[in-house]
Symmetry: C2
Subunit: 333 residues, 2 copies
C-alpha cells in the first residue's frame, strides 16, 4: 500500500486539517472536529443545507460546501457514517432559524444517526426535514426503491436543494425541490479495480484483470454482475440500459448527465465514456442540457465510472443552472 498518509488511523483528522488550512474561503471549523461549515453559515433567513457521510469519497461530501451549495457537513470515518452528534452539530452550524434540510444517502448508519440527531434537534426547537437519496438502480429492484442506495445523484440533489434555499424557498419548498431532484435521478456504477482503506491495509475486495463489476456500490458493495470488461461504447450502452429501463425518457426530454470517476480512472477516459453516453441519448432524441464529467464522487483509488441522469422540468432546470461555487463544483454560467 503506497499512500501519502501519516497515521492510518488519523487520515480523516489529518485531511480535515489540510482542507481548513488550504481553503479558508470555503471552510470554517466548528466546535465539533467532524463538522465543517461554510464561513458565512448560518445565512440569515436561508434554509440551511446539510449533508454528511463517510470519508474517502472526496470531493464528496465536504467539497460541496460553498456558495449556493452546502452550508455544513458531518464527516465520518472512511466509508462510515458520521455520528448522530456530528449530524446534530452540522444542523446547528447551518440553522439560521429558517430550518434545515438534511439531504443524505440511504445507508443504514446514516439513517440511524440522522434520525437520532433530528430527535435531539427537534427537542431543541429546530426544524429539520430530510430527503434520502436512493438513485442507485443496481442496489434494489424498482419495487423496493426504498432499499436503494444513494450515490452520485446526491450531488444533483444538493445542487438543486441548495439553489432552492438560495432563491428563498422555505423549508418545505427546499425539501420538495430536493426530493423532486432525487426522484428524477437514476445512477449506476461499474467498478474496474478495488481500493484499500489505509487502516485496513489491503484491498477491500477484488476485481480480476479483464473483468468489470456492473452495479458496484461506492464502498465495494457487490454489483449485479461480473462480466468481461467491455469497450467504453459497450459499457455506456450497458449502463444506460439499466438507467433507462428504470426511468424511460421520452423523445425531446432534457437531462443532466453526471459522469463521475471512482478515483483512479484517468479523466480522459471519462470523456471517452461521456461521448458514448451523449451519442446514445441523442439517438433517442434526449438532450443533455448540462453535463458534469470528472471525479465528483469517488471511492479512494478505485477504478471505474458512475453514470447519473436527472430528468429535468423547468423548475429543476432553473435550479441546476444557478451559479454556485465550491471545491467540487463551480458553475459560473
Amino acid at each position: 500500500m503506497n499512500r501519502i498518509i501519516n497515521d492510518p488511523d488519523r487520515v480523516v483528522e489529518d485531511a480535515i486539517q489540510g482542507y481548513l488550512q488550504a481553503h479558508a474561503n470555503y471552510f470554517s471549523a466548528t466546535d465539533n472536529a467532524r463538522v465543517l461549515k461554510y464561513p458565512a453559515a448560518p445565512i440569515k433567513g436561508k434554509v440551511g443545507i446539510v449533508t454528511g457521510g463517510g470519508s474517502g469519497h472526496e470531493p464528496a461530501f465536504l467539497g460541496y460546501i460553498g456558495k449556493n451549495m452546502l452550508d455544513a457537513v458531518a464527516i465520518g470515518e472512511i466509508f462510515s457514517s458520521p455520528t448522530a452528534g456530528a449530524f446534530l452539530d452540522a444542523f446547528k452550524a447551518a440553522d439560521s432559524g429558517a430550518g434545515v434540510a438534511c439531504l443524505y444517502g440511504n445507508y443504514a448508519g446514516d439513517n440511524m444517526n440522522v434520525k437520532m440527531a433530528i430527535k435531539k434537534a427537534t427537542a431543541a426547537g429546530m426544524a429539520v426535514k430530510t430527503v434520502v437519496a436512493n438513485d442507485d438502480v443496481a442496489s434494489a429492484p424498482a419495487s423496493e426503491i426504498e432499499k436503494r442506495r444513494g450515490v452520485a445523484g446526491e450531488i444533483l440533489m444538493w445542487k438543486v436543494g441548495a439553489a432552492a434555499a438560495a432563491q428563498g424557498y422555505d423549508l418545505d419548498g427546499v425539501i420538495g425541490a430536493a426530493q423532486k431532484a432525487i426522484d428524477n435521478c437514476r445512477s449506476i456504477g461499474v467498478g474496474l479495480s478495488s481500493c484499500t482503506i489505509p487502516a485496513v491495509g489491503k484491498p477491500n475486495f477484488h476485481i480480476e484483470d479483464g473483468k468489470m463489476e456492473i452495479g458496484i456500490g461506492h464502498h465495494g458493495e457487490p454489483g449485479i454482475e461480473v462480466s468481461p470488461i467491455q469497450s467504453a461504447s459497450a459499457m455506456a450502452g450497458t449502463m444506460l440500459d439499466f438507467v433507462l429501463n428504470d426511468m424511460p425518457l421520452a423523445k425531446g426530454q432534457e437531462v443532466v448527465a453526471l459522469v463521475s470517476g471512482l478515483g483512479a480512472t484517468p479523466v480522459m477516459e471519462l470523456y471517452i465514456y461521456y461521448a458514448e453516453i451523449e451519442k446514445r441519448l441523442a439517438a433517442q432524441g434526449v438532450k443533455v442540457h448540462r453535463c458534469y464529467v470528472g471525479n465528483y464522487f469517488t471511492s479512494l483509488e478505485m477504478m471505474g465510472v458512475t453514470l447519473t441522469l436527472m430528468k429535468l422540468d423547468d423548475e429543476l432546470k432553473t435550479l441546476v443552472d444557478m451559479p454556485a461555487h465550491s471545491l467540487g463544483l463551480t458553475q459560473v454560467e
Copy 2:
C-alpha cells in the same frame, strides 16, 4: 489493464470528441483535429496564449483553455509532443494580430516542434514568442537549469501569462510576466506507482510496494532516488528541502503552493500532504498566499504527488489572483 476505452490507438481522438461534446462553453474545434480553442478566441487586441503537450496529463493541457486562461492548445499523443503543424494551427487559432505567447514545457519533442512551427508562423507574418518551463528541480542541477523539465509549474506560468494578456499587456510584456512566473517556480514529484499507456498495455516502469521514487518525471522519467516510502510529513519535508535548497525563501516571503496528484492518489491524501507543507513553510516564516490542491497535472493513473512553489512579488500576485475559469482551474475570488 482495466480501462474505459474503445480503440487503444484512438484514445486521444475519442477523448477530444468527449471534451467537445461536453463543454461547448470552453472548447471549439478547429480545422486541425489536434487543436482546440476557446470559443471566443482569437480575442481582438489580446495577445493569444498557446500551449501544447502530450495527452494523459489531464486536465493539462487542454483543460486550462478558458476565460483569462489559454486561448488554444496543441494536443499530442499520450506522453508525446504535438506535431509542429498542431502548434502552428494553435498559433493561428489564438492570434488576433497582437501576437502569440507560446508557453510550454522543456522536452526535446516540444522544443523541436515549437521551433519549426514558429519558423512557419514568422514566414506567414505572425509574431510568436516563447517561454520554456523548466521548474523541475530533480531533472538537472541548478548549474544546468536549461536541461530541466517543465512540470506543474507550467500551470502557474499559464495562469500568470494569460492574466497579463487579459489585462492588456503587449506580447513582450506577456512573455516577461510568464518568464518571471516560471523563473520563480520550483517543483518536485514523488511517484508511488506506475501507469499504463493503453496502446502499450503494460506498466511503463515499476515502483515496488513500500517504495517511493523521489524526483520522478511526468512520464516516469527516473528520479533521483528510490527510498522506502515515507510518512506524509517526512515526504513533505524531503520534497520541500529539494525546492528550498534550489530557491531559498526569506522570512516574510509569500508564495503560491500547488500540490497536484499524479492521478490515482486519493484527494484526501493530497490535503494531508498539503497541511504538512504549509506547517513547514509557516515555521520558516513563509506565507502561502494562495494554494491549489488537487489533480491539476496528472500522469494517467500514477499514484504520487508533485509540489510546486512560486515566489511572489506584487505583479505576480496581482496576476495570479485575477479571476479565471476553465475546466481545470476556476477562481472566482
